[in-house]
């Protein structure tokens, strides 16, 4: 007679914990003991998951281990003649995490089963990584935007805003992994491939305290695993819909008075998002399939124009288990990213008609082949070949040249340019995990080859004229610029890493690791390496299990993390750029005449002995489990970025030159302002050529013989508090608060730290360049909370976010007469952070009604973004004293410094329905 006894006890964390060692898989390990606590060798332990059953036998120490497990839910059962069986159900295995179980077997019949209910919230007591994961139950139920999931999910995580993670560079600092494929643009790290939110099976956001197997980031990694088929057939059919009538305008009268274009903010016209998915067995326990198709269609207005996107996305995955220890997986994604109404030369706030926009054509493939092999219970091999191919072409609706008025700041003309980008990325990753006694070793090697090709040309300046764009001055022709390029390069990264989690005893685990990255940049045309760095990043950490039960863990970590291979950091030295030509412009823009020409040949070259950009991190954290469903985490973080890469003028000398500004401000009281600028002293004597180099500490030679020192710096200090309540008794919550400060002279927007002209003259690094960085959000509160109303069976889920404002400062465009530079420069009038945009709050809600009918689950829901219809500034006007914009009727008006050029979107309701089994 089978008898089940539910004990509902706190799960005791086993002493033999395993390290966070597998990037895409997890581990279940534990110990079998009798009622007196004596170990039981020779016990048959059975693991049941969605792709079948695995068995092992406990060793002489009573220990067992299942490695290389696909994330998901598992049951474990132990059986031995003369003992009651013990089982553990619903063990959630996450990627890179270890779940430890103790199974206690009493004397009795084998058919009797003692079932222990797992904790809903567990802590891995052996890792130094601080979790900023989003639980699956949150992903499924919360009102999370489905657009560009990798980046949007990153921004829902604590400590990440505007794609800047714990002070890191937006985009280039983050690694966006999809089943192990780095889906970033190898040029500058922005998201390149976009996928269906509904193919996500599990998401892990890693940033703090990561072991050596994680690399290629100085901000954060988002690691997404996609769905697979299992022994049961599964279906998802979902449709989401929204329209203009389900949206609200949120600009206040006061905002519109400051900028009349805000009366027509970005709003959704229509959203139609269809998904169908089917997964299941082709042969039970052996072969499984998963298929998914999506059509994502959205059109929006912005400043009265229409921007459209239609993205069909198809995914297929085949999983084969030829033996119980082998898993072979192959997957393919094809998608298109078709856009109309994109901005080009003219920024979105200044566009007045559709002819100033461009259309985008972007097909792409993502491929992935993996083999996992488990040798016994102590060795695990994982090999992957993966990558993607894609391009995007930007095609102007009108081929007319663009105009920029340097006097008024106004734009006019056509979209202004053509652009074509081609990308291919291939990676081969191999890793071996070995468990020896109290050590958990992992060794790995990665080879990456990624190709970048960019082609660009401005529109013609007129019939029969060269390409370029016009710079006007108060409505009159002034001059024009022009150049084109076709550049090709290849990132070559060879990586190895070794790490160990050594369970010393008494709850102490030491984590050691080192990661070596050899990164080279090859000019494809010249077939030679222009960029070459070798970096070694140590990772050292300790985790102390204070309670001995995995309920209270203190961690400490020091590590050096290096950026991935970034073409932008050396790509300017690749030939393919034509001369930079300045033209004088005839009356009515009918003719142009070449005025000056800066030769493109060798304009940039890469310096010797470059060091690859990195971040040094120290963090200390404390995890405390409270009851069975609560967890509290406090983390102190210090990060310091180094090895910035920028370009400097070769052989330049500089003459101090005073610049007087009329800038004044009442609160705080500033100005009129006098700035100490620097004029290029030996212009015409030395050519305008640049050296790409590290710019942590640089000197500028002044014409008076003295030296001007400048430093590239960025530091982050923060405290993060997290409170998690697992889904239980109808409610769940994840609350975080981050107090932080990011300061320095290097901004954290996009590629500021790896590729910019900030050091080419001292004016943009020495003059008011320091202070809080762009994305320094002093206070951040993020709350996910969900509750399922009894009887009505309606789930109410909320996402609330509070953020401090953005630091900014006013700038003036200083002309070439003051600086002798080849173009105007934007000079900050006061240090960055002197002004901060207002704080912002946002509340999104989802109401879902669920119908469980037999095997089938039907849900209908309404997502309400910006429920309170709050309006806050997302982009301040930073040019002093003002800029000139054109309204939808073609009439000019000015927007003063500090007034909004953009605000957040208003309330929008999206209705959805889904059927699943």
């Amino acid at each position: 007679m089978k008898r089940t006894i539910v004990l509902a006890l706190v799960l005791v964390m086993a002493a033999a914990g395993m390290a966070a060692a597998q990037t895409l898989t997890g581990t279940i390990s534990g110990k079998v003991v009798d009622q007196q606590g004596a170990v039981l060798p020779g016990v048959t332990v059975t693991l049941t998951g969605k792709t079948g059953v695995k068995t092992t036998v406990s060793d002489a120490r009573g220990e067992f281990r299942f490695v290389g497990l696909t994330p998901g839910t598992y049951d474990v059962k132990s059986e031995l003649q003369g003992f009651r069986s013990a089982s553990q159900s619903n063990l959630d295995v996450s990627m890179g995490k270890s779940v430890d179980v103790n199974l206690s077997m009493g004397v009795g019949g084998m058919t009797e089963v003692v079932e222990v209910v797992a904790n809903a919230m567990t802590i891995d007591p052996t890792t130094t990584a601080t979790d900023t994961n989003m639980a699956q139950s949150l992903l499924f139920s919360m009102p999370i935007t489905h657009n560009n999931p990798a980046v949007s999910l990153l921004n829902y995580s604590p400590g990440v805003n505007d794609s800047s993670a714990f002070g890191g560079s937006a985009s280039s600092g983050n690694s966006l992994m999809l089943d192990g494929v780095d889906t970033r643009d190898p040029e500058a790290g922005t998201a390149w491939t976009f996928y269906n939110y509904n193919i996500i099976d599990e998401v892990q956001v890693g940033s703090l305290g990561q072991p050596a197997e994680y690399g290629g980031f100085t901000g954060a990694i988002i690691n997404t695993i996609t769905k697979s088929g299992g022994n049961r057939f599964s279906l998802l059919a979902e449709y989401r819909y929204s329209t203009e009538g389900l949206g609200s305008k949120n600009a206040t009268a006061a905002m519109i008075a400051l900028n009349k274009n805000l009366a027509s903010p970005t709003t959704v016209l229509t959203l139609k998002d269809y998904t169908v998915q089917l997964g299941g067995p082709l042969k039970k326990d052996k072969m499984f399939f998963f298929l998914s198709a999506q059509r994502y269609e959205i059109s929006q207005t912005f400043t009265g124009l229409v921007r459209g996107e239609i993205s069909p996305r198809f995914n297929g995955k085949l999983t084969w288990q030829p033996t119980s220890s082998d898993t072979i997986t192959g997957s393919l994604q094809y998608d298109q990213y078709n856009q109309t109404g994109r901005t080009a030369f003219i920024p979105s706030y200044a566009i007045t008609n559709h002819s100033q926009t461009i259309d985008q054509d972007s097909p792409e493939y993502i491929w992935n082949a993996q083999w996992r092999k488990v040798f016994g219970s102590s060795t695990f091999l994982e090999a992957k070949f993966l990558g993607y191919w894609g391009y995007y072409d930007l095609n102007p609706v009108s081929n007319a040249a663009a105009h920029y008025d340097a006097g008024t700041g106004a734009y006019s003309g056509g979209a202004g340019y053509w652009y074509q980008a081609d990308r291919t990325r291939n990676q081969l990753n191999v890793s071996l995990s070995k468990y020896v006694g109290s050590h958990s070793f992992k060794f790995g090697a990665e080879i990456e080859r990624s190709n970048v090709r960019n082609r660009f040309a401005y529109s013609p300046l007129g019939a029969g004229l060269p390409t370029g764009y016009f710079v006007d001055y108060y409505g009159a022709p002034s001059y024009a610029y022009g150049y084109t390029y076709d550049i090709k390069g290849k990132n070559k990264r060879d990586t190895f890493y070794a790490q160990d989690a050594w369970k010393v005893g008494r709850g102490l685990t030491l984590n050691f690791g080192v990661r070596g990255d050899r990164i080279r940049g090859e000019s494809t045309t010249e077939k030679k390496d222009l960029y070459s760095t070798m970096s070694y990043g140590p990772r050292l950490g300790a985790a102390i299990d204070l309670s001995g039960k995995g309920t209270s863990v203190v961690r400490a970590f020091y590590g050096q993390m290096y950026d991935g291979a970034i073409f932008a950091s050396w790509g300017r030295a690749v030939p393919g750029l034509t001369d930079f030509i300045t033209y004088t412009v005839g009356p009515n823009w009918k003719s142009v005449k070449e005025d000056s020409r800066v030769p493109a040949t060798l304009k940039y070259k890469v310096g010797d002995n470059l060091k690859h950009p990195r971040v040094d991190e120290v963090n200390v954290s404390w995890d405390q489990q409270i009851g069975r469903a609560f967890k509290f985490t406090a983390t102190g973080i210090y990060r310091n970025w180094k090895n910035f890469i920028n370009s400097m003028l070769i052989g330049g000398t500089w003459t101090p030159n005073t610049f007087n500004s009329t800038f004044t401000n009442q609160s705080p009281v500033i100005g009129p302002t006098q700035l100490q600028l620097f004029k290029w002293g030996n212009k015409g004597v030395v050519p305008q050529q640049f050296l790409i180099q590290n710019t942590d500490n640089v000197d500028y030679n002044l014409t008076n013989g003295s030296v001007l020192h400048a430093a590239g710096t960025r530091q982050y200090k923060g405290i993060m508090l997290q409170f998690q309540r697992a889904l239980r008794d109808r409610w769940q919550a994840q609350i975080s608060y981050v107090l932080s400060s990011t300061t320095g002279t290097i901004r954290n927007s996009s590629t500021s730290g790896v590729s910019s002209g900030q050091f080419e003259t001292p004016n943009t690094i020495v003059v008011n360049a320091g202070g809080p960085t762009d994305y320094d959000r002093r206070h951040e509160v993020k709350i996910f909370a969900g509750y399922q109303i009894p009887k009505a069976e309606i789930s109410v889920n909320a996402y609330f976010r509070y953020l401090s404002g953005w630091p900014y400062s006013p700038y003036v465009r200083v002309g070439t007469g003051t600086t002798a530079w080849s173009s105007t420069l934007n000079i900050n009038l006061v240090e960055r952070g002197y002004f901060v945009t207002p704080n912002s709050t946002n509340l999104d809600l989802r109401f879902e009604k669920v119908f469980d009918i037999g095997l089938h689950r039907f849900g209908i829901y309404a997502d309400i973004s910006n429920t309170l219809n709050r309006a806050y500034m997302t982009s301040p006007q930073t040019r002093y004293p003002n800029i000139s914009l054109t309204d939808l009727k073609g009439k000019s008006f000015t927007v003063k410094f500090g007034d909004p050029t953009a605000i957040n979107a208003g309330r929008q309701i999206t209705l959805g329905g889904r059927w699943s089994f």
Partner: protein, 106 residues
Amino acid sequence: MARVLLLALAVAAAPMPALAGETGPTAAPAPVLKDAIAKAAAAVPLAKARAQSGAAPVDKSELGSKSFFKKPAGIIALVVVAAGGAYMAYSMKQDRIHSVVRAGQK
């Protein structure tokens, strides 16, 4: 706007029998639906929550056999997936914005 919001909430909050009535019920489905509700409500909250997050430990052994697709629900599922996938594949050709420059290069 407010009316739309209220409508959305009202739909989400509609009692099951009312919704069943809207979908053209016969006398027979209502008790089945009612039973299902009672069964679901009686389920352990954790199990229910897990079911909703797509990791249901509830017995779905029927879904382990291909014979499921010979039943009405299975046939409908296949039709939905096949029709949806085919529609998306068909419309993909219309969606595509072909690059003028790239077409010229070919």
